[in-house]
């Protein structure tokens, strides 16, 4: 349902952006309405906290409004918006030191925790670990994995939204799965080579 709304919105996005550039509040609200859940999925997949994810949705659209004048007609709006969301989320993870304990980087922290838990499978919390493992993926692999598994998008749709070849999407997804298997090998009860 939401995807249908997004597809419908994409046909109007150039007009809506033009209106927002002129200060149209209603048009901005329609853009937020159309893309808010996509941004939330991305943010939550990386921070795994409802309130932080909602804050990131808000910050992403605030940043979008700040930058809207620089958006050029014909560009991939959704890819542009998701890039803003990714940057906002990564900034958040880096700045939010209280949650990182001794780590300087949220992604690095995920890798460290995953490797330390390899020796203690009893501490395995499936959702926590898949979240941290996804966070530890390279950016493009992470994005494709999130879009495919958490946002239920087909390879073709991911390819269209990210403006990359479908084969590239498949390759990125395969690499993401292999990487996750490697990161979670002890918890998955097997070895990985």
């Amino acid at each position: 349902m939401e995807q249908e709304n997004v597809n419908c919105l994409e046909t109007q996005i150039e007009l809506l952006v033009d209106l927002v550039k002129k200060g149209d509040k209603e048009a901005f609200m329609r853009i937020v309405s159309g893309y808010q859940q996509k941004v939330f999925v991305l943010a939550y997949s990386m921070v795994r906290d409802r309130e932080d994810a909602l804050d990131l949705v808000q910050e992403t659209f605030m940043k979008l409004y700040e930058k809207i004048q620089s958006y050029r007609s014909g560009n991939n709006f959704q890819a542009w918006l998701m890039q803003i969301a990714r940057n906002q989320t990564i900034d958040f993870l880096r700045k939010n030191k209280s949650r990182k304990q001794n780590s300087h980087d949220g992604l690095e922290m995920a890798r460290t925790e995953l490797s330390s838990n390899q020796d203690n499978p009893d501490r395995f919390n499936p959702k926590e670990m898949i979240h941290k493992a996804v966070l530890a993926l390279p950016e493009k692999q992470r994005l494709v994995f999130i879009m495919h598994h958490f946002d239920d998008l087909k390879y073709q749709e991911i390819a269209r939204q990210l403006q990359i070849a479908e084969g590239t999407v498949k390759s990125l997804h395969f690499k993401a799965v292999q990487k996750l298997r490697k990161l979670l090998a002890p918890q998955l009860g097997g070895s990985y080579e």
């Binding site: 409802r50 808000q58 409004y65 499936p126 239920d152």
Partner: protein, 264 residues
């Protein structure tokens, strides 16, 4: 653990049911004999199961969000934030607006001050300098000079006329008889004083001929001033001779005529 790369890239598609039935059968047969691929398939399934678990958590969390109200909230916050600098700008403008009369007054005062300063101390044209020095009225120097020259000529003419009358009286005076009129010492002294004042002007305006005759008259008057009012015959004769020898009356007439002509 040994490796088996035969179907390595297809296990995801296998799990998702995206392969042809013939390929799926082929892979199922392979799994019966390859523990390595079976383990990879099991791990991948478990991984995807974990992903599904996370997705389930995500969907649960998303179900708690009021997605209909959120766009409005975000939009209001975005608009509030973008209006803050505008308000700050408008308040700044209001502050500037309040200060504008004062600023305008200061600027106007400065401009007036500069203009007045310029008028007072501005470099003047050379022909106005003389006028400034001689008069507080800002008049063309030529005009002032002409007026001064005219006044000097009139004063000189006046001096010469009165001297002429006095000299005529001397020529007509009787011996031993006290003069009742112009030959009084006061008149002579007055003409001597007047000559002192006239000297500077005669030099300034280069009235050389007039100055020469005036000097001779002055010399005569000085002589007279040292004599008693009642002139002796000898004294009177001496004065008359001085007047006649120097042709003072003639010279006075000539100079007077020149002065009058140049005045026209």
């Amino acid at each position: 653990m040994s490796k088996c790369n035969r179907y390595k890239k297809d296990w995801l598609a296998f799990i998702n049911g995206q392969l042809k039935p013939s390929r799926i059968k082929e892979m199922l047969r392979h799994l019966e004999t390859c523990s390595v691929c079976q383990e990879e398939l099991d791990q991948t399934k478990e991984l995807l199961s974990l992903a599904d678990g996370f997705k389930h958590e995500l969907k649960q969390v998303m179900s708690t969000v009021d997605w209909e109200a959120l766009p409005g909230d975000i939009t209001e916050k975005v608009w509030a934030r973008q209006e803050q600098p505008v308000r700050a700008g408008s308040s700044g403008w209001q502050v500037r607006w309040k200060w504008q009369p004062l600023t305008a007054g200061l600027v106007l005062g400065l401009l007036l001050g500069m203009a007045l300063t310029f008028l007072v101390i501005k470099p003047q044209k050379p022909d106005l300098i003389t006028a400034k020095q001689d008069s507080r009225i800002n008049l063309p120097a030529g005009f002032v000079e002409r007026v001064d020259m005219k006044l000097a000529r009139r004063d000189t003419l006046d001096y010469l006329e009165r001297s002429q009358y006095l000299l005529l009286e001397l020529l007509q005076a009787d011996q031993g008889r006290e003069s009742a009129g112009l030959l009084q010492p006061d008149n002579i002294q007055k003409l001597l004083t007047e000559k002192k004042y006239l000297n500077a002007r005669l030099e300034d305006f280069q009235l050389l001929k007039a100055k020469a005759i005036c000097d001779q008259i002055e010399f005569l008057f000085l002589e007279l001033s040292q004599l008693s009012p009642e002139l002796t015959a000898a004294e009177l004769e001496k004065v008359r001779r001085m007047i006649e020898e120097n042709q003072l009356l003639l010279k006075i007439n000539l100079v007077k005529k020149e002065l009058q002509q140049s005045e026209v």
